[in-house]
């Protein structure tokens, strides 16, 4: 008997075996797929829950840094009123207080907020960029204003002190976040350089290694 005659002779046996094989494979595949979908949905739920928790944390940190900003504004107001009344001791005290609160409280609060936001928006580039535009640049703006107020010549003359300078490390988190979102022909690069100059840093310091 030839090969095809053998096949024709046992045709039904081969068909039935094929059907069984296909059925087993299909059932196994369907079972595995359902398990996969179940695991994926569980992970999605967990992810959503974590996102919600992070969201709450984010709002909480935003509130905190805004409170610190408000306290800076009040201290600055006090500094101005003491300066107008020529109270040298109070001006000196307020100047020091302003610098301390800015560096130890406000900057730290913004740093924590930025750190969480960086992780939270890591997968969403447009939101990351938006965060930098809405929070990091305003932070640098506030910083240069505070620095300008602290180092006003009349105030320094009154208290007899030296100009206060901050170090690159105090602002490196902000500069790094801006650099992450820079594109070619972007205004971010130009703004960053201007803010660095306003804060007393050279744009070339960006390329140096800071430990």
């Amino acid at each position: 008997m030839t090969f095809w005659e053998i096949i024709q002779h046992d045709f039904i046996f081969y068909i039935i075996n094929l059907i069984i094989f296909v059925t087993v494979v299909l059932v196994t595949w369907l079972f595995a797929k359902s398990k996969q979908l179940e695991t994926v949905s569980k992970l999605k739920t967990q992810l959503e829950y974590l996102k919600m928790q992070q969201n709450d944390k984010l709002f909480d940190l935003e509130d905190k840094y805004k409170k610190k900003q408000e306290s800076l504004r009040l201290i600055l107001k006090e500094l101005e009123s003491n300066y107008k009344t020529n109270d040298k001791d109070m001006v000196e005290a307020r100047r020091n207080e302003l610098s301390n609160v800015f560096l130890l409280e406000y900057k730290d609060a913004v740093h924590k907020y930025a750190r969480l936001a960086d992780q939270y928006f890591a997968e969403y580039r447009p939101r990351h960029r938006e965060f930098v535009q809405n929070h990091i640049f305003p932070f640098l703006d506030t910083s240069r204003k505070i620095l300008s107020a602290i180092n006003t010549p009349q105030i320094m003359q009154m208290v007899g002190g030296q100009p206060i300078k901050y170090s690159y490390q105090d602002f490196d988190f902000a500069f790094d976040l801006i650099r992450k979102n820079m594109f070619m022909f972007d205004n971010f690069r130009a703004d960053l350089k201007k803010y660095m100059k306003a804060l007393g840093f050279k744009p070339s310091e960006l390329d140096k290694q800071h430990v």
Binding site: R73, L76, E80, K145, I146, P153, D186, A190, K194
Partner: protein
């Protein structure tokens, strides 16, 4: 076997010992049990049991004693006291000057106040000297030291208050209770009025309560931003105001130029093709 619950009063301290005893016990057996238990110290004159005016025979059983009920206080008297008490006709309840405890004693109606105070002192019910105390009978009558009880019309089971000289005499209980109840009523009325006042001042249930933390507290001073404060400081120092840092974004301009260039290029390309063909 029937049991009876009785309290046995110590002859010296007036403290009581409560026990459920078999009513077939004799008085002597009970005294022996009290001695063995340590409640009574050994006494050469021995002890006897008495209830009100009656002194029990040592050989009599408890179930043979008349008018003996559950909760009765049996006084334990020494041999001497039993002899003294045999002629006594009066049981008086003496109230401690500061604590709310009562000592009942069987005394002669002719006993004078100072002797009665001394008797109470000997029993250890009160401390000090007899001239530090005085006795006050019903109706706030104070007995003189050498006045007998019979002259103050003290009758059987009457209460006599022992008062320390120098402290105020205790007023009668009935007027005290009356004033207390009046005070309570006044307190209740006052409290009800206050509650009504509080309820009337509370906002209606359907109004949203003000959240004190978020309520805006307007002040006369206008809000001054960091910008304006820094601007004023700089103007005082004759410095120019800080300019806002806002660079021009060339990206939209370049995209627009690119699109226009593409359109123009495409136009010329089409023109070139038509020229050839």
């Amino acid at each position: 076997m029937t049991e009876i619950n009785l309290n046995f009063m110590h002859p010296t301290y007036g403290t009581t010992f409560n026990a459920d005893i078999d009513s077939s016990f004799t008085v002597e057996e009970m005294i022996t049990n009290l001695l063995h238990s340590g409640f009574l110290p050994p006494n050469d004159e021995g002890y006897q049991l008495a209830l009100r005016k009656q002194i029990f025979d040592s050989n009599s059983t408890f179930d043979s004693i008349e008018n003996l009920y559950d909760g009765d206080i049996i006084r334990i008297v020494t041999g001497n006291q039993a002899q003294d008490n045999s002629s006594a006709q009066l049981v008086v309840n003496l109230k401690h000057p500061t604590k709310g405890i009562v000592l009942d004693l069987q005394v002669s109606p002719d006993i004078i106040a100072s002797d009665l105070i001394q008797m109470v002192l000997d029993k250890g019910f009160i401390q000090g000297l007899s001239d530090q105390y005085t006795l006050v009978t019903k109706g706030l009558n104070e007995l003189n030291a050498d006045q007998p009880l019979s002259s103050a019309q003290v009758s059987h089971q009457d209460f006599i208050q022992i008062v320390q000289i120098g402290s105020s005499a205790m007023p009668a209980i009935a007027p005290m209770l009356y004033t207390m109840s009046q005070q309570l009523e006044q307190l209740e009325t006052g409290m009800t009025k206050e509650l009504d006042l509080i309820k009337s001042n509370m906002p209606a249930l359907n109004t949203i309560p003000i959240d004190a933390k978020r309520a805006i507290n307007p002040t006369e001073e206008a809000y001054q931003s960091i910008d304006s404060i820094v601007g004023r400081l700089r103007s005082d120092a004759k410095l120019p105001p800080l300019k806002p840092i806002r660079s021009i974004n060339f990206m939209p301009f370049l995209i627009t130029v690119g699109i226009i260039a593409l359109i123009i290029g495409f136009y010329f390309f089409l023109k070139a093709i038509t020229l050839f063909y």
